[in-house]
């Protein structure tokens, strides 16, 4: 199946859940059967469904497997007595699975809203049917009968579908505030009571249809609004979890036990295999390895660690097993500290008030006052309290913000759909409003401007046979530099039929490189000093710097002084291939720039936004990237607090910053900035705090998002203007007492439809511009407007 190119576009695949983790996350259904939900971002077509369901059903112990294509998840039931190799099977097929946190509570509000929409839709349809008969001339006993049936349908509907509004209005009143729901509730309740009174007295007009239709339209707007606020959050949670759920703990008597991360205590001894993430801050007591710290510190080069090194939660163990002694509990670890910093830094966006809130804050008192004035004026002029009250109710109902309630959420839903088609998830609806005000953009370097993946740059200088030897050795290591060589060779001579190079007794020496025997010679690929036989042990890096309550290894931020030259990858010393201690080849690397980065930055600069780099990496690495992408400003070697300080300084200077970053060390900056974006490969804390998450590799998502946001902002303002114009026309008519239930119904529906039609123009404008050419299917996602009640069927 050509559309299935599994695994090719996944680059967050590291750290697949271990069988222990899987068992721990599974939910027991009784009778020895357990159910597990896995997020599998690579699922994207019907063939994937069939392939995965068949492969999983074939496994012993699997009772059923069901793929959900919309949410890209698999729900698997299996026997706890014989846990099947689920992760291995899925990974083998090219669909690496991830665990995720179920956020079931969130969906209940949506379910309630949808039921309310259904009920009020049913009721308004039927009441409208009866009302049309009345307007067409039914009178006498027939009219009374129709009014009574309408009252019977309307009463339970108002009770059931109106709950959301009663609750919200009551909360506002109790807190001594006003919101839009107060006039809605008063209007609907008064209209119902008044209509019952009129029906009892065989009156001509009843407003049952107006009240129920009003709720129906408002509920549609409310549901869209809820989707905008909440939808993306669950999808973000569905992405890969980068924090492990637990670790193997070695008890004092030597027994091994898998424990969840929040049960790991200080002093526990942990066993971390190569390829696993480190769950808590800890000290190494045995073993040696290289750690990928890029998500934590932003540094692109792996850090060698050995006994007595301290390691941070969230770093990835690359090359060798480690025995650790936990030095902090999960709640005191680096990750938790970042979350606390983020909460402290959260400034820009909490001060922001959404356009809809601002409008309704001014609108609600105006509506109340107008209705009150109408009542008093008619009472004084006409003296008939019944007529005065009817007109006051008409004013309340007709000014009730049907169109206003839809004006903002409908545009945001349409805009979010357009963004989703281009692989951008909107986590927060107000982000699009804030993005329109952005005038400066700050990028993190490693993982954002670059892919965080080294690329071999001096291949032409290396003898092909040496490259083949290095590729064969490097292919057996997990170290990014070794993998880069192997990848380069695999891409370069896929067609050549040179005999495969094979080695005996290949061993990986964590922190140094990989070695193997071939034709009686010892080949080494790794750090130059070690390859030449000069270094024999991990270099201790003295000096630590304190940061809040967290101490960082100086080495995580410091320039590595043993660099042979600036051309070597980042500040590192590249890699050397040596035979029996004699140099054969040197390999130089550079970090791959994210596709579309140059175009994106040009587009941003063209629209007059200042662009800068805020990085925790070294000065040399930043200068190199800034030069390649034509960025004038960069700040290197920043601590997380340094990034926040920089953003706060800009904010105080009156600038509105967009922060684009992926690392844990960016998370506080993401929450300090006025708006934020993160790639899907980001640390989960970063993804959860960012306003928008882009799922594809290309950085062109950034100018595209700003562009769509500006279009959406224009439409929102137009829609609000339309709704206000409608009111300017309708209120005087209502005030003069000319509004019959028929006019109210036409006016309310008409304005709502106008606003929706205007919002839909956003989709059309996307089709017209040929620049919006689709590249790849989104890697992960959750369709907007699609309903998911959470859990399995």
């Amino acid at each position: 199946m050509s559309c299935c190119a599994p695994g090719a576009d996944i680059n967050a695949a590291s750290g697949a859940p271990s069988p222990d983790e899987l068992l721990h996350a599974a939910r027991s259904l009784g009778d020895g059967v357990a159910q597990i939900e896995l997020s599998v971002p690579a699922i994207h077509c019907g063939a994937c469904i069939q392939k995965l369901e068949q492969a999983l059903s074939r496994l012993d112990g699997v009772i059923s497997a069901r793929v959900n294509l919309s949410t890209r998840r698999i729900s698997i039931r299996f026997r706890q007595s014989a846990p099947p190799p689920i992760v291995e099977t899925l990974t083998g097929l090219g669909y690496p699975p991830h665990l995720f946190d179920e956020a079931e509570g969130k969906d209940r509000t949506l379910a309630e809203l949808l039921r309310s929409v259904a009920v009020s839709g049913f009721a308004s349809g039927n009441i409208m049917l009866l009302s049309v008969s009345v307007w067409s001339g039914a009178d006498g006993a027939t009219r009374d009968l129709f009014h009574w049936i309408s009252a019977l349908i309307a009463f339970p509907t108002l009770l059931y579908a109106g709950r959301t509004f009663y609750r919200s209005a009551w909360q506002a009143l109790r807190a001594g505030r006003m919101n839009m729901d107060v006039p809605i509730v008063i209007g609907v309740a008064l209209a119902y009571a008044m209509s019952i009174y009129d029906t009892l007295h065989h009156g001509q007009h009843a407003y049952f249809d107006a009240g129920v239709t009003l709720l129906f339209f408002l509920l549609i707007g409310r549901t869209f609004d809820h989707l905008m606020r909440d939808r993306a959050r669950s999808a973000v949670l569905g992405l890969a979890r980068l924090a492990p759920r637990g670790a193997v703990v070695i008890a004092p008597d030597g027994s091994r036990d898998y424990r969840p991360v929040n049960e790991i205590e200080t002093g526990d001894r942990l066993l971390i295999a190569a390829g696993e993430r480190i769950p808590v801050d800890a000290r190494v007591i045995g073993g040696a390895s290289d750690l990928d710290c890029s998500l934590v510190s932003g540094e692109s080069r792996p850090q060698p660690v050995g006994p007595a090194s301290t390691v941070r939660a969230g770093t990835l163990n690359l090359t060798g097993p480690l025995t650790l002694e936990a030095s902090a509990r999960a709640t005191d670890s680096f990750l938790a500290e970042m979350v606390r910093m983020m909460e402290a830094a959260e400034g820009g966006r909490t001060r922001y008030r959404r356009i809809a809130d601002r409008v309704s804050a001014f609108y609600a008192p105006v509506v109340h006052l107008t209705a009150l004035v109408a009542f008093i004026v008619w009472l004084v002029m006409g003296g008939d309290w019944h007529q005065a009250l009817t007109i006051a109710i008409a004013v309340l109902i007709i000014t009730c913000p049907c169109a206003l309630g839809l004006a903002v959420p409908i545009v945001q839903v349409v805009a979010a759909r357009r963004l989703f088609e281009r692989g951008v998830m909107v986590r927060d609806g107000s982000a699009m409003e804030r993005l329109t005000e952005i005038d400066a953009v700050a990028f993190d370097k490693t993982g954002t401007l670059t892919m965080g993946q080294p690329r071999l740059v001096n291949a032409p200088d290396i003898a092909p046979d040496m490259l083949a030897v290095a590729a064969a050795l490097g292919g057996q290591s997990r170290h990014p530099l070794s993998q880069a060589i192997a990848r380069h060779a695999a891409a370069g001579d896929a067609g050549s039929d040179a005999p495969p190079v094979s080695f005996d007794a290949v061993t990986e020496v964590p922190g140094f490189g990989i070695e193997g025997w071939r034709d009686g010679s010892l080949w080494r690929l790794g750090r130059p000093g070690w390859a030449l036989g000069q270094e024999t042990r991990v270099q201790e890096k003295p000096g630590q710097t304190t940061f809040g309550q967290v101490t960082f290894d100086q080495a995580m931020f410091d320039n590595d002084k043993d660099a042979a030259g600036a051309a070597w990858f980042a500040s590192g010393s590249g890699a050397m291939l040596a035979r029996d201690g004699r140099e054969c080849a040197r390999f130089a690397f550079e970090d791959t720039v994210r596709p579309g980065a140059a175009a994106a930055i040009q587009a941003l600069q063209r629209t007059g936004k200042s662009v800068e780099i805020l990085s925790g990496d070294t000065e040399a690495a930043c200068r190199d990237i800034a030069g390649r992408l034509d960025i004038q400003q960069y700040a290197a070697g920043l601590l997380p607090s340094g990034k926040v300080a920089r953003i706060n300084a800009m904010t105080q200077a009156g600038r509105k910053m967009l922060m684009v970053g992926d690392g844990l060390n960016d998370a506080p900056a993401l929450s300090a900035a006025y708006a934020s974006m993160a790639p899907a490969t980001a640390a989960d804390v970063g993804r959860n705090i960012a306003d928008l998450v882009f799922l594809r590799d290309s950085l062109e998502a950034v100018p595209f998002v700003i562009d769509v946001s500006e279009q959406a902002g224009k439409l929102i303002r137009q829609n609000i203007a339309l709704a206000l114009v409608y009111n300017i026309i309708a209120v005087p008519i209502a005030f003069l007492g000319l509004v019959t239930p028929l006019i109210a119904a036409v006016a309310m529906s008409g304005s709502s439809i106008l606003v929706i039609a205007n919002a839909l123009r956003l989709l059309r404008s996307g089709e017209r511009s040929p620049a919006a050419k689709p590249d790849r299917a989104p890697v992960v996602g959750h369709y907007p407007g699609r309903y998911s009640e959470g859990g399995a069927t």
Partner: protein
């Protein structure tokens, strides 16, 4: 107007039935995977989606 005696209840019943059908469909999870449902039509095998234990899939 005697026709109304059964027309109105009939209209309400039909509307109510469709409302109940929607509620049931939502509750039974039919809106959970709209994309997957569309693709599943195209599968050849009409067999049970969850093979019983001991049964071998193709």
């Amino acid at each position: 107007m005697s026709v109304l005696i059964y027309l109105i209840p009939a209209a309400l019943l039909l509307g109510g039935a469709s409302l109940a059908a929607f509620m049931w469909a939502m509750k039974s999870g039919q809106y959970e995977d709209l994309d997957g449902a569309g693709e599943r039509i195209l599968f050849d095998d009409a067999g049970p989606l969850a093979p019983k234990h001991g049964e071998t899939a193709r």
